[in-house]
Amino acid sequence: MRYRLLLLFILFPLSLISEDKYSISGIVNDDTSKEAVISATVALYTDSIINKDNFVKGAYSNKFGFYSLPNITNGTYFLAVSSVGYKLMLLKIIVTNDDVRRNVQLESTSAMTEEVTVTADRESSPTSSISSISISPSFVSKMPAFGGEVDIFRTLQLLPGIAAGSELSSGLYVRGGSPDQNLILLDGVTVYNPSHLAGFISSFNNDAIKDIRMIKGAFPAEYGGRLSSVLDLTMKEGRKDKLGGKAGVSLISSKLTLEGPINENSSFMISGRRFYFDLLLGLITNDAPTYYFYDFNAKANYKLSENDVLYVSGYFARDVFGVNENDNDDISVNWGNSTANMRWMHIVSPELFTNFSLVYTDYIFDSNIGEDDVVFNSGSRIRDIVLKGDAQYLAYDDHVIKTGADITWHNFKSKANFNNLDFDIGSNNLGESIINTFDIALYAQDEWKVTDRLDVNYGLRGYYFQQGNYLDIEPRLSATYLTDAGIRLKGAFAVANQYIHLVVRNNISLPTDLWFPSTENILPSRSYQGVLGAEMNIIDDTYLISLEGYYKKMNNLLEYRDDAEFTLGKVLEEQFTSGEGRAYGVELFLNKKIGNVTGWVGYTLAWTKRQFADLNNGKEFYTRHDRRHDVSLTLNYEFNDTWELGMAWVYGTGQAYTMPTSTYIWRDDFNYNDEKYQFSERNGVRLPAYHRMDLNFMYKFEAYKLPWVLSINIYNVYDRRNPFAWYINNEYDPNTGDTSKKLKQITLFPIIPTLGLSFEF
């Protein structure tokens, strides 16, 4: 009986497909580059005159460009395929007793009126628009950039709900979460440390990226392993029509991207970037420390058959820092990520789409500090090997079922060693620490079109983490309802666990910040988050207005204790303290999607709090990145064929900061009267508000028969002296001979104009 039931369960989906029903499926490509077009709208009509009465059914292309329309009866149809930045393509399809495979090539449009830069409702179902925003890399490239260095993360920081930790940091603080709570995926591969220059610049080269999707919270079951958000980046595959590329120079770096066909079935893309400020500095002085970074992206694909494509991609980034003060003293620190991914896309049938990946990631931090022949070597390393498979089942009219599994082997290594040193006491505390563990994740989700107005996405994600033997189930649910007035009401709830934690010593992202796995003593972090909102397109779909409220509760967050000791031999786990976090707020987003002026206005009203028994006397406190009000305005304006302007303006409530609130005299260890400060509660003082405007003038011209763009970036146009930090300084007055205390403010960046030049070929 049990086997009959199982058979019935397996065959039930097939029973829905009666013999005289067939599928129309295929892959949507760009007609020039032949790259897959993600999230193209595919709609089937019974007539070439497209209207609601003729509509049969619709679908969206997935990340590989694949679409499928199941359960089609014999007949003549018209397939309308469209996507942002492309002309509508209408194809006649005749279904006669067989499935139809129809690949579609979309013609890109250069008309300004068709350009869409940011979309909040682009993905494959209305439910996936909840807290989700996609930004085109071309829009990112037009935004003002510090030093002319186009930065995906700094553009994402302009979105409501995403805050910058400080002016120095490109880290993403999403809805009160910390940067390590973001799942950052590059072609499906987790990147642990996505920044260069101590967090100042993100380590992703915009020229190598095809698609940027940010999910700010309550993400569906297909994503997991982090508490707060998902940033899903897809690398370019490489154009298939001809060899092309892009090169650019800015004040601080140069980059080059090459892409083209290898043969008729394969193509490649390689992209590299090098920070060369050290070379410029070297022209002036030999005494300056050496610092540079570089990163390298590569991807190739090979079409094995109509139903099989093999992708191989890699990413390599390094930061290198060194000081050689004289011939005896040396400091060298280098850190970075390496990833490699081999992915096989296989279309089993029009109803079943699969892809499988074998992934290797390596994050390394290594430092050597030496004097004469004695060198202290310390570092940490995380190596992951991941095997994963995902499937999309498209046999139902009203359901898109996604399921998948992955297993990840983690190798955590930390070390601290002296060499050539006669050092007895505590020497047994030195050496290497290695943790090997693995985790398994399984998920299943159903994007269910319940009615024409109601869409639901429900799913479950299960986790097993070997270290500590943790087994967790995460329910995910989201729903949207379209009202008569065209307002889409939306809501979502999600539980997420995180088994790998980044423990930081301050808010500047440093490579010394430590990734640490959950253990028997360190419980996994867990978040519960809920989202409610509404959105609608207005004024002929030119604008999108969206309002979302969120509440997020986080347990078992890790911080260093106030009295943490970082000496050799101290057990690291004992230096941590765990606590809770709460974040809640409201986000308003007005997005002008179409026209020669595009951009958005974002406003966030938010509260972000933490509470640890061992910090701040156990009282709840605001985090450094807590911003009560956060406003952003972005604009892209194409004056004419020659000039274009990108503009960004931000305003934020001042940073929460810990400052002295009084001073007193204390008898110290030596019985002297010493001056001491009594500080506010943790982050109990607010710095003044932060605001800044950046501009990017783009001058387009032709030289050597190639299109060139000269970018004139002006950072902090009105030279606002924004506070980065306050401190108390004892100042000597040479006139009176007295010293007195002054409250001082440090500003990092005044107005900074820079030039950048790029060309395409």
Binding site: D424, Y664, F679, V685, I712, S740, L743
Partner: protein, 268 residues
């Protein structure tokens, strides 16, 4: 093209004129919270109890004894069924009116009242641990042999212990936490010994109330202004309770002897 040159010129001018003033004086006061500051410790052999009572002043002022001194606080110590008044003796010091005999195992409760602030703290003199053995230890550090003595002790009270030569200069240095009772601990003499003859070496054992521990761990906090480039931003932790008060109040037990009297028999 002419417009481009003008634009570039403007940008260059702006850049040159903006390079200074990245550090500027802020014409603003920090929020001020006045605190009552208490500092007191006493040993088993004390005949008087003395406490320093001061106040904190706004962070941008220079603290001097004259600015922080409080002369009109009401300060009392309660123990057993007795009350002792502490009288202002000059500068910030308040001293007990009468002499007294400090006893181990007895709770001493401090109460200080000043304006609307009330500070309360209690401490108990812990009972000294028992010395089980003393051994000579040679260790090598930075290429040199050094000698010290390792005491094995067992305690019935929790606390912090320090064993030093009598002439130990550092007051709040070299303490070890004893946080489990009836357990053997090994405690090293807090400094290396250079005298070869144990008959010439005397030691002092100081065993403080365990409330000393949080203060000991954080005693170097609050030294700097907590600016972004310093390790500040944290307060010392004390055991004096009350709204807008901070301070320490603890007692300690002491014992002295000669190393030679306790040295392991095989080493003698």
């Amino acid at each position: 093209m002419k417009k481009t040159y003008i634009l570039l010129l403007l940008i260059l001018t702006a850049l040159l004129s903006s390079c200074d003033g990245l550090e500027q004086t802020v014409d603003s006061d920090l929020p001020y919270v006045e605190k009552l500051i208490i500092q007191g410790q006493f040993g088993i052999n004390s005949r008087n109890i003395s406490v320093s009572i001061t106040k904190s002043i706004p962070p941008l002022e220079e603290p001097t004894l004259s600015k922080v001194t409080i002369t009109d606080a009401v300060c009392k110590v309660y123990y057993k069924d007795k009350v002792i008044n502490l009288i202002h003796q000059g500068e910030s010091i308040y001293v007990s009116e009468d002499t007294l005999t400090i006893e181990e195992g007895v709770e001493y409760r401090l109460e200080v009242k000043w304006k609307d602030k009330v500070a309360i703290a209690t401490t108990t003199i812990p009972i000294l641990p028992k010395i089980i053995s003393v051994k000579e230890k040679i260790f090598r550090e930075w290429g040199y042999d050094q000698k010290t003595y390792e005491f094995t002790i067992r305690s019935n009270d929790k606390g912090m212990i320090k064993i030093s030569e009598n002439d130990s200069y550092y007051r709040d240095y070299g303490f070890q936490l004893i946080d489990k009772i009836d357990k053997e601990y090994r405690v090293l003499l807090s400094e290396p010994i250079y005298d070869e003859d144990p008959a010439n070496i005397s030691f002092e054992m100081r065993f403080t109330d365990i409330q000393f521990y949080p203060y000991y761990q954080t005693r170097h906090e609050g030294n700097s202004d907590g600016g972004i480039f310093s390790n500040g931003g944290l307060n010392m932790e004390g055991n004096v309770k009350g709204d807008n008060v901070f301070g320490i109040w603890f007692g300690y037990n002491t014992f002295g002897g000669r190393i030679d009297d306790y040295l392991d028999i095989f080493k003698k």
